[in-house]
Symmetry: C2
Subunit: 324 residues, 2 copies
Amino acid sequence: MTVKFRKLALVGIGLIGSSIALAARRQGLADVIAISTRRSDTLEEARELNLGDAYTLDPAEAVRGADLVILATPVGAYEAVMKAIAPALEPGAILSDVGSVKRHVVKVVEPLVPEGVHFIPGHPLAGTEHSGPSAGFAELFANRWCVLTPGPQVDKAAVEKLAAFWRAMGSNVETMDADHHDMVLAITSHVPHLVAYNIVGTVADLEQATQSEVIKFSASGFRDFTRIAASDPVMWRDVFLTNRDAVLEMLGRFLEDLSVLQRAVRVGDGPALEELFTRTRAVRRSIIDAGQETAAPDFGRPHEAPPVPEVATFVREHGGGDDA
Amino acid sequence: MTVKFRKLALVGIGLIGSSIALAARRQGLADVIAISTRRSDTLEEARELNLGDAYTLDPAEAVRGADLVILATPVGAYEAVMKAIAPALEPGAILSDVGSVKRHVVKVVEPLVPEGVHFIPGHPLAGTEHSGPSAGFAELFANRWCVLTPGPQVDKAAVEKLAAFWRAMGSNVETMDADHHDMVLAITSHVPHLVAYNIVGTVADLEQATQSEVIKFSASGFRDFTRIAASDPVMWRDVFLTNRDAVLEMLGRFLEDLSVLQRAVRVGDGPALEELFTRTRAVRRSIIDAGQETAAPDFGRPHEAPPVPEVATFVREHGGGDDA
């Protein structure tokens, strides 16, 4: 299905908003891309990066005449944004978002959606640890999932049109209930981020000399946690403020399991440890088989070879090229 | 300093042992490399990979005449290996290892070291989630740290010779006390692995339908944990059996902090969450600045672009090449 919108309005232009702008333009999914954001310096940055066709600090101006509006601000800003844009939304327009929680978004946004506007909450499961308009890239959504959580009353053709938009940017699309989304994301994304933030915080609280050593020796495991613990602080604050119940439920399961593991360490239960450590390997294999992870060791991080003593040997083995 | 050994004996030929074999040969650090391992199929695999010059199931035969012996089996096998090789160790030889814990190694190995042999425990802080002889590569130690924990009575020249061996393979070398090593590694490596194994275990215990969704949506955070939770089970069992006290101490700190964070989520303390999430970003920057991590987003994982509708545009932007 070929999909094309007359005007795409992006309210918020961080990592996700800017990646949508770049991907939509690259794939030719909108005649006009209008960008709105709260801070003038961010708007200027978006303009310098040439992310869209029109730039404004007024979200109502951005959404006027748009047949696709996507909210891409932190979730905590949705209510204020909706109050500002509701009078300017066109009947027949699709209104969506990219927030990491969905039940809260429905609760806050739905009452403010004007008659005739198709509200379809969305969540692209994609991102990096970088933030802001310059962090975006057109390939971000390729082979990643985008979850849509339309209410039962929403127009099916509008849902299919939005799904086609995401598929055109490279995503796989799945629809589900908002509550189910929040529960699955709690264990897939929210608790992992909480745990990563927590262990990095534990290290940040160590005395200075020890902390320096942890940083130096971080390749032995710790650094894997620091990537997601470097994600956007405001976005993640809002996730935990708005998906509390599911996060506390999944964190509870994690802590129960950790108590059992802590006890196995304390009593020296080797067979129990080995059994768990063997079982967990299969999960990674499943993720690689599902095409959601690289099979390359160490995430494919670069490993540079030290120079070898003799030049002749080096040229023979490496063709004299730069293998960094 | 140029360093060269007559005979390097590797007892154990997994990821680390095979990487030492490849790096030592590439850098010309030994005239002969002898390889010993417990299982005949592993020994055959090492032989087919051409990792050394001599292969034997008898560790005593491997170490006979060696001036550098490195134990590279799981730590739990050290006592049996030492009893087998002690009579064959040459006076003047350096005996080292690559185990992830050091106090326990000293306790087990030191009483079995013959007079005149220089025992210098070692730990290269390098690895991937892959295991076995075929997982090794010569670049594994480049720009990684290798920690040596020689006792106070050990010959300084022997320590310097072993340090030069590791530096020639690309490592940075640091010496410290065995207890201090175990404490720093508990928080840098052991607790992160325990937490990663635990959260992957929590997912593995979910009902099948939910587990499938977690795997599908794992790019939203979870998959970062699965890498270290796919590491060698026997090696990691032995780590937790032999560094119990330091692991429980650091796990205790982690759990205290997690209780505070859990409460912040429960009461909806936005400022506390945002403060922690901001502070943790700095730690990752320090690791990147220290050259221990890639600055590329998403660990530099590949992102493939979806095809764009028009061939002409694709060729213009990508030169028609394969960008996978």
